[in-house]
């Protein structure tokens, strides 16, 4: 490990807007969360702002070949490439890519027709085969495969180095950042586009989180204060991409860093009582080297699941640093959540300040003084924990 790893570009779209400036503005102004309670009632989701897709995906044909979650990813990837000043054919030719992905949208109309027919048939498999064979769009499969976010980024933006897609809900996000960071630090990659996206406006996605009761249907916005039952999460549409780059490579091409990623860790624990607190504690030793950095802030990936939030807080309180959980404002982005938290952490370091508290529950306190280091936490709603330490880049 000898290369510093810099964030040289950020592409982010969510319910708060498009790009770094709109997001920083929204977080510092104390605006209320944007919620859509109409699309999939009674569930509230954080909707995507309206995007002019043609700005990043110029060909109509390319837009048509994708479903919304892919478009959000490809759009945000383009923003990150632009923000990094990396839209150069030679650079794109050797640029690596690690995507944290789930699966794509289903054809809800086809599925609903099948559900209705399943009520009256006594041969479910025959019904399925007949309907799916006749009614599915042939290319829908390509809009569902996780690795086709990467495939579309290659096609639309011309990224042509290595292309890898990680899966596994939230853990896919911190594994992607961890792996990209490790490769760059060790000189195995020089520049790597890392990101993910989620379309929250999907009934099949709400269904998945309704199993086991993970959706939050209460009024409370703050992820720290969802006390009814075991709390829950509100999904938020987002696309988030970061350009990670070795300091030497960035300097050589004259790119300026937003921040540096000093260290990343990810692990899993058995999720017995107290295990999340211990898991974070052990990872903190590895990412901090045992010393709490000065002027520390925390951007938490807390989802809103109450028992997990309590365990995470038990770890965070020891650090005595201002905490901000951005799912309160933009919702939970599953695979993309850790990327979003890293993006916000980089903005804080770049502005040398934390943004205002997002909750009214008293967990998030105003920050006194500068912010030079930000700890990012990631927590899987059912498995996996991750940490990253974002610092000022040593220019």
């Amino acid at each position: 490990m000898n290369q510093d790893v810099w964030i040289t570009g950020i592409g982010i779209v969510s319910s708060l807007g498009e790009g770094i400036d709109q997001h920083w503005q929204a977080l510092t102004s104390g605006a209320r969360p944007v919620l859509d309670r109409e699309t999939i009632p009674p569930f509230a989701i954080h909707p995507m702002v309206e995007l002019d897709l043609s700005k990043q995906i110029p060909k109509r044909g390319d837009q048509r070949q994708m479903e919304p979650w892919q478009r959000l990813g490809v759009y945000a990837a383009g923003l990150a490439i632009d923000d990094a000043g990396a839209r150069d054919p030679d650079l794109l030719e050797s640029m690596d890519m690690i995507i944290a992905a789930g699966g794509g949208e289903r054809d809800i109309a086809v599925d609903n027709q099948i559900l209705t027919e399943l009520l009256s048939t006594n041969d479910a498999v025959r019904t399925l085969i007949e309907r799916l064979s006749n009614d599915l769009r042939p290319t829908l499969f390509l809009a569902q495969l996780p690795n086709l976010v990467a495939g579309n980024i290659s096609i639309v933006h011309g990224v042509r180095g290595s292309s890898r897609t990680f899966m596994g809900e939230e853990a896919a996000g911190f594994d992607a950042v961890r792996n990209a960071h490790a490769r760059i630090a060790a000189g195995q990659s020089r520049i790597c586009l890392v990101g993910g996206s989620l379309n929250a406006a999907r009934e099949d996605m709400i269904l998945l989180y309704e199993m086991g009761g993970y959706n939050w249907t209460g009024e409370e916005d703050s992820v720290w204060a969802r006390a009814d039952g075991n709390g829950g999460l509100r999904l938020g549409s987002m696309g988030v991409f970061l350009m990670l780059e070795s300091a030497d490579h960035a300097r050589a091409r004259g790119a300026t860093p937003v921040a540096a990623v000093r260290s990343v860790a990810a692990d899993r624990c058995a999720r017995e009582p107290g295990a999340i607190t211990s898991s974070f504690g052990a990872m903190w030793q590895s990412v901090s080297g045992g010393t709490t950095p000065a002027n520390l802030g925390i951007v938490s990936g807390a989802t809103g699941v109450a028992s997990q939030a309590a365990e995470e807080l038990a770890f965070l309180r020891v650090l005595d640093a201002p905490i901000r959980a951005t799912a309160t404002r933009i919702g939970h982005g599953v695979e993309a959540q850790f990327l979003a938290s890293l993006a916000f952490a980089a903005m804080c370091v770049d502005n040398a300040a934390m943004f205002a508290p997002l909750d009214t529950a008293g967990v998030e306190q105003p920050a006194n003084g500068a912010c030079d280091n930000v700890l990012v936490t990631g927590i899987g709603h059912w498995r996996g924990e991750g940490l990253a330490l974002v610092t000022r880049a040593n220019i």
């Binding site: 999939i40 609903n112 209705t116 990224v159 099949d204």
Partner: protein, 422 residues
């Protein structure tokens, strides 16, 4: 021991394999070298109405309920157990390194939707709103079988691998990518050992229909064992199959220090993304050639050192044409004499698992000094001038092997294996 670039030499000390040909290396190797097909008519579910009704299902493994997550997990566990037991690394349930898992996308499947739907009385019509309204009680295994992280979580618990398991997909190159991640982790000193597993149990009606709608599958249903015909003139698509493979990968130093038997060396790997089309390679072949060239460069290997190519060889008109093009571009006038064969002619295309299954077969090929054939090679494609080791296994001196894997989404990866450190 370091390689020519000063990096740790990477070795394999344990392998495991489960395919339609059988469970374990012994059965698979015997069947592969006998030139026997594992492709048959699908009986696990009714196939009436499907354009393709054949495949390489693993019928000797049963899970209940059957779904992609549970079946993939089961065959992955079996392959991993064979590999871990052979390697003898760590103690049972305490593997001394991380897990890199190549696996298919996991989703809620129709039997689960039907189960939720019928958990409440219904009238004449139903939609997602009904599913959502009834979903809350379905937690635990019902839910985990719909989540991407479930297979890795299960394997990590069973084998006691360290850290966060990485689950990945690069479509039909996934198995090779998982091996690359292990190589990289050992080279950068992050670990001395890694467990790499690739498994695919995604043969259910909806996935078969999806591939059929893309015209990717062979429709030679009448003679299943003859349907997978890589490099033949009358090839008409690949044959879907289930399969799993696992490799225990270590640094040479670590393996020697604990007295492990070394099965072979992974000299290196390379990859290159294609930006041409979602399912087709750029006709200029640059990305496929680029992946193979990158693998040779990473391995510090000259093309002349390669004795045998374990082909991606899916049997689709497009793949075999482009793979031939790339082999020609790299090996020049030697291309037509260099043995290249496709295990998929017998196993079928195990998608996510193929790269790792073919890695295990590549190691077996060097161990036995015998090349498994490309079967069903009855009508050669005159446009493909390659020595495909037609129909019958062949004894040969094989010390270095190239194994190729290509996938939808512009994924191209290539690995180089050797008998001994270079």
């Amino acid at each position: 021991m370091k390689d020519a670039s000063g990096r740790p030499v990477i070795v394999v000390t344990g392998t495991g394999i489960v395919t339609a040909l059988g469970e374990g290396k012994q059965d698979n190797w015997a069947t592969l070298t006998a030139g026997k097909s594992g492709i048959h008519a699908i009986t696990r579910f009714p196939t009436e109405g499907l354009r393709t009704t054949i495949g390489g299902t693993i019928d000797f493994v049963d899970v209940d309920p059957f779904n992609c997550a549970s079946f993939t997990s089961e065959i992955a566990t079996r392959a991993a157990r064979e590999a871990v037991e052979q390697a003898g690394a760590g103690r049972a349930g305490d593997f001394p390194g991380p897990l890199f898992l190549a696996m298919p996308p996991i989703e809620m499947e129709w039997p689960m939707r039907e189960k939720i739907l019928k958990s409440q009385p219904r009238h004449e019509s139903a939609d997602y709103g009904d599913l959502i309204a009834s979903a809350r009680p379905f937690a635990g295994d019902d839910r985990e079988d719909c989540l991407f992280g479930s297979v890795g979580e299960h394997l990590a618990s069973t084998f006691g691998t360290k850290g966060s398991p990485i689950s990945l997909t690069t479509a039909c190159a996934s198995g090779a990518t998982a091996i690359q991640l292990a190589i990289e982790a050992i080279r950068r000193g992050e670990t001395d050992a890694a467990l790499t597993v690739a498994a695919d149990g995604s043969m259910y009606p909806e996935t078969m229909i999806r591939f059929s709608l893309l015209s990717a599958l062979s429709t030679q249903n009448d003679e299943p064992e003859k349907a997978s015909r890589p490099f033949s003139k009358n090839r008409d698509g690949f044959v879907m199959a289930e399969g799993a493979a696992a490799l225990v990968i270590e640094s040479y130093e670590h393996a020697r220090a604990r007295g492990a038997s070394i099965l072979g060396v992974i000299r290196g790997g390379g990859e290159k993304a294609d930006s041409f089309h979602r399912t087709r390679s750029n006709p200029d072949g640059k990305a496929i050639v680029g992946a193979m060239t990158a693998a040779l460069a990473d391995a510090g290997c000259e093309p002349d050192e390669i004795d045998y190519i374990n082909a991606h060889g899916t049997g689709t008109p497009e793949n075999d044409k482009m793979e031939h093009f790339a082999v020609n571009a790299i090996f020049g006038e030697r291309a037509s004499r260099l043995p290249i064969s496709s295990n998929k002619s017998m196993i079928g295309h195990t998608l996510t698992a193929a790269g790792a299954i073919e890695a295990v077969v590549s190691l077996l090929t060097m161990e036995h000094q015998r090349i498994p054939p490309t079967i069903n090679y009855d009508i050669p494609d005159p446009a493909i001038d390659l020595d495909v080791v037609p129909n019958v296994a062949r004894d040969a001196t094989v010390t270095t092997v190239m194994s190729n894997s290509f996938g939808f989404g512009g994924q191209n990866a290539s690995l180089i294996f050797a008998r001994e450190p270079a």
